[in-house]
């Protein structure tokens, strides 16, 4: 019998949740030794489809074939047995255990005592083979996120996965780690293993994959060979209309009026480790300063210090010559789009109207004579919904029922409508689909034109490059380097993100 050509085939998969058709007759297949890209916006149904594959959901109809034999995947352990490995976007590791223990976890064993030595040996072999080096005895929480991802991949490989699903694997990686991942992927496919690569970053998809399957709104749009794909074409297929997040045209800054001035600021993170070191930064009116860097290099503390949520250990921060150290943000002064919409920016159980005033609920006209003025709150909400195009049935529905893009609009309306002098936007597009991303970019460009000083923190190089007038790169709480937005290139910034100063290269 001849060797099967397809490692995986999924035909006409339909999955329905109450009231929602998450997957509508989606088909895809993946040959042996192939990298298949799975592309789609948030909520397009990528994750549902993969959960069907991994046995977490049962499809309402449709067939799954592994090595051209029909199978029924009733649980993740069945999926593992069939050679399917999954690296979730949010890792499923036990953070307090060591790497080795995480690898062993879940492997059935009849032994009374665990003998880790053969496992350690095999793990080290795998590390060598795929150049994904991790210390087997390190506790997972101590590892950088990139290495945690290696652990997830090694875990799947240890279980001898033939089809490996990588869900947004590069979201947490530095450019060089991404390259490392690419090499590992090449290595895997050369052995005849197949990779399903889920992403919404077009550049990577074009670089890594052999074919791309695009889904939109739970339906299959099409599958094309990557050789015939361009970023623009893929974006069009994914969103359903032409979109671009290219660098925005802009007028040069006329005069430099400093708005935010930070001098020798030192701050600690939640664990008491120094997160900002002698930090100096000036942001001028009418300027977007992009803050690039791998997550966790002080971006969060930087934003929290400026918005008054965190007290610096030393140093001064002023906005228009007014000290803001110790002062919690005043909406007329600072508009702050926090890093995590749902965790910090919104009260998910509150209505849209209430969320629009959570900073000013005790000020006129929303509160009068110590009572809330529900009419004014409602009127304000209706104005904001109209002005910012927030898609919501009424102002009384819980904000949790809105889409991510519309939740972000609620925050933007609240933070920017009072025309603050300084805007801090932390990962404002994280988790948004491309349409919403370009909407947020429009807003920030408008803020720039209005004359606000904008500090724009993002982990996505592409959007930093698209928006910033100046780009600073954070590395371990310090500014590793500063580059001009017009002339910056991804490579230079990538080097800086890794802590290689500019001088070293030249």
């Amino acid at each position: 019998m001849e060797e099967p050509k397809f490692a995986l085939q999924m035909t006409d998969i339909t999955k329905r949740f109450p009231g929602v058709l998450a997957n509508d007759r989606i088909s895809l297949d993946c040959k042996k030794g192939e990298v298949l890209g799975l592309l789609g916006e948030n909520g397009a149904g990528k994750t549902t489809l993969m959960n069907v594959l991994y046995g977490m959901h049962q499809p309402d109809s449709g067939k799954i074939l592994i090595n051209e034999k029909e199978v029924e995947i009733t649980s993740p352990s069945k999926a593992i047995e069939l050679g399917i490995g999954m690296v979730h976007q949010h890792f499923k590791l036990v953070e307090t255990l060591t790497v080795l223990e995480n690898i062993v976890l879940g492997i059935p064993s009849n032994k009374v005592f665990l003998d880790l030595e053969p496992i350690r040996k095999r793990l080290l072999e795998l590390c060598q083979e795929y150049e994904l080096y991790v210390d087997p005895d390190a506790e997972v929480w101590k590892l950088p996120v990139g290495q945690q991802q290696w652990v997830e991949i090694l875990k799947a490989l240890y279980r001898n996965a033939q089809v490996l699903v990588l869900d947004e694997p590069t979201a947490v990686l530095t450019p060089s780690e991404s390259d490392q991942l690419c090499r590992a992927i090449r290595r895997l496919t050369s052995e005849g293993r197949s990779i399903i690569f889920i992403s919404h970053k077009l550049r990577e998809v074009v670089e890594i994959t052999d074919r791309v399957t695009i889904i939109r709104d739970g339906k299959l749009v099409g599958t094309i060979p990557t050789s015939e794909a361009t970023q623009a074409k893929l974006a069009h297929m994914m969103v359903g209309r032409p979109v671009s997040i290219d660098r925005r045209p802009r007028q040069a800054l006329q005069q430099k009026k400093p708005v935010l001035v930070m001098k020798d600021v030192n701050a600690l993170d939640e664990r008491g480790i120094q997160a900002l070191k002698n930090f100096n930064l000036t942001v001028h009116a009418g300027e977007i300063v992009g803050v690039a860097g791998v997550d966790g290099n002080g971006q969060k503390e930087l934003a929290e210090c400026i918005s008054g949520l965190k007290k610096p250990v030393s140093g001064t921060i002023s906005v228009n010559d007014t000290l803001i150290t110790d002062v919690v943000a005043d909406p007329k002064f600072i508009g702050f789009i926090p890093e995590d919409r749902q965790k910090t920016g919104l009260v998910m159980d509150f209505s849209v109207a209430e969320n629009l005033i959570i900073k000013e609920y005790d000020k006129e006209p929303y509160a009068e004579k110590r009572l809330l003025n529900l009419q004014n709150i409602k009127k304000h909400a209706q104005d904001m919904i109209k002005k910012y195009g927030i898609k919501t049935p009424t102002d009384t529905v819980k904000v949790s029922t809105l889409s991510g893009g519309n939740q972000q609009k609620v925050i933007i309306a609240r933070e920017l409508d009072s025309e603050p002098i300084l805007d801090i936007a932390c990962h404002p597009t994280r988790g948004l689909d491309m349409g919403a991303v370009s909407g947020v970019h429009d807003v920030l460009m408008k803020e720039r034109e209005r004359g606000a000083a904008v500090l724009f923190v993002s982990a996505e190089l592409q959007e930093i490059l698209a928006l910033s007038d100046r780009i600073i790169v954070l590395f371990r709480g310090e500014i590793m380097g500063e580059v001009d937005g017009d002339t910056a290139d991804a490579f230079t910034i990538g080097q800086l993100m890794l802590g290689q100063a500019l001088e070293e290269k030249t």
């Binding site: 109450p18 948030n42 909520g43 739970g218 702050f336 998910m348 959570i358 809330l372 809105l402």
Partner: protein, 372 residues
């Protein structure tokens, strides 16, 4: 992702929510009573007869109903004390302790013969009770806000301290305890410090009305004032509250102390209205029943009124049921527990369904991605 729009009850503005949450609670209670019925049948009694006896015991005559009203008073005040905590995301499980402290505080004033007019003496006693409880509540409040100590552990441990403090005061403290009493108790309260009896031949005191008014005041406070907004914001998302400039430490302490004061008020009214002395364990378990009341009410002040009455009816009627049908008296507690469990259970599964049914596909996608 595709959506299939379906009209459901949540689309009715305002009323829809009330109907939904109200009916959920009623379904939960019905299931609880049904299951308890099986247990009653297992203990060789006819459930219908037993429930009949229970209703008769609570509503049979005016005396029975007055008994319900007397029993409901501490449940309303304590339940509200827990509920305000719930709204702020805090489990204020120290009501038992606050009630003891409230009783001690008001008792210390009530036993004094100062020749004061009755209204003033009562007022002073109540204030003293609330002040004692407030000071007591400050301890877990401070520890939770500034030291991150779990408030449940802290308040429950303090409950024991409060109980033994009371025991000591009513048995050994010369200035407070009745000397030579057959049972540990405080000196009798002055007539001027006793709440008036509203109906001759019963022990009906105005406590129940105080309780209802307090619940309504808190309903208003939570919904229509910046204080309520802050409290709900703290409960909804403490990070967002902090980010919006709320001093969350202060707010946590405030909410715990308010809950403590309500518990203290409940304890004070219980002794100056009903017992006229402080006994060594005069509110055994009521503080914990208050937690169940708040749970049943889902933290809603108006719900507290209904839940409080429901429990009081069960307690008063349960005694009659036990006498008439021979069912064990602990059956009442079992019924309460089952009702609370079912209400919580129904509430949770329903939330799940309604969320998925909501006509915002994107939101579902977000929720799902978060789940992973």
């Amino acid at each position: 992702m595709k959506t299939e729009k379906k009209a459901n009850i949540t689309t009715i503005p305002f009323l829809g929510d009330i109907i939904l949450s109200g009916s959920r609670t009623l379904i939960g209670i019905a299931l609880g009573l049904l299951t308890s019925g099986i247990l009653i049948a297992l203990s060789n009694a006819n459930p219908l007869v037993a429930y009949g006896a229970m209703i008769k015991g609570a509503f049979g005559d005016i005396y029975a109903f007055c008994n319900v009203l007397v029993r409901v008073s501490p449940l309303l005040l304590g339940g509200m004390g827990v509920a305000i905590g719930n709204k702020a995301g805090i489990w204020n499980t120290g009501i038992e302790g606050y009630m003891y402290l409230g009783a001690i505080g008001s008792g210390l004033v009530a036993i004094q013969d100062w020749g004061l007019p009755s209204a003033l003496h009562i007022l002073l006693a109540v204030i003293a009770g609330m002040a004692f409880a407030a000071a007591w509540g400050l301890i877990p409040g401070y520890l939770r806000a500034h030291r991150g100590v779990n408030e449940v552990t802290c308040t429950i441990m303090l409950n024991y301290v409060a109980i033994y403090l009371t025991n000591w005061l009513v048995s050994d403290a010369g200035f407070f305890a009745e000397s030579g009493a057959f049972f540990p108790m405080s000196k009798i309260f002055q007539d001027s410090a006793q709440l008036p009896i509203l109906l001759r031949g019963t022990s009906l005191h105005p406590g129940v009305f105080v309780g209802i008014i307090v619940c309504l005041i808190f309903f208003f406070l939570l919904k229509y004032t910046p204080f309520g907004f802050r409290t709900r914001m703290l409960g909804g998302n403490p990070n967002a509250a902090r980010y919006s400039g709320v001093d969350i430490k202060k707010q946590i302490i405030l909410v715990m102390v308010l809950g403590a004061m309500l518990g203290g008020l409940g304890g004070a009214i219980e002794v100056i209205g009903l017992r006229h002395r402080v006994y060594s364990d005069f509110v055994t378990g009521v503080g914990y029943e208050c937690i169940a009341v708040a749970l049943l009410a889902g933290g809603n002040p108006v719900g507290v009124i209904f839940a409080g009455f429901f429990f009081a009816i069960l307690k008063v009627g349960g005694a009659t049921m036990s006498i008439e049908t021979g069912v064990s008296s602990s059956m009442t507690s079992i019924i309460m527990a089952l009702c609370v469990l079912f209400v919580i259970g129904v509430g949770l599964t329903d939330n799940h369904r309604v969320k998925k049914k909501s006509n915002k596909a994107d939101a579902v996608a977000v929720v799902k991605q978060k789940e992973e």
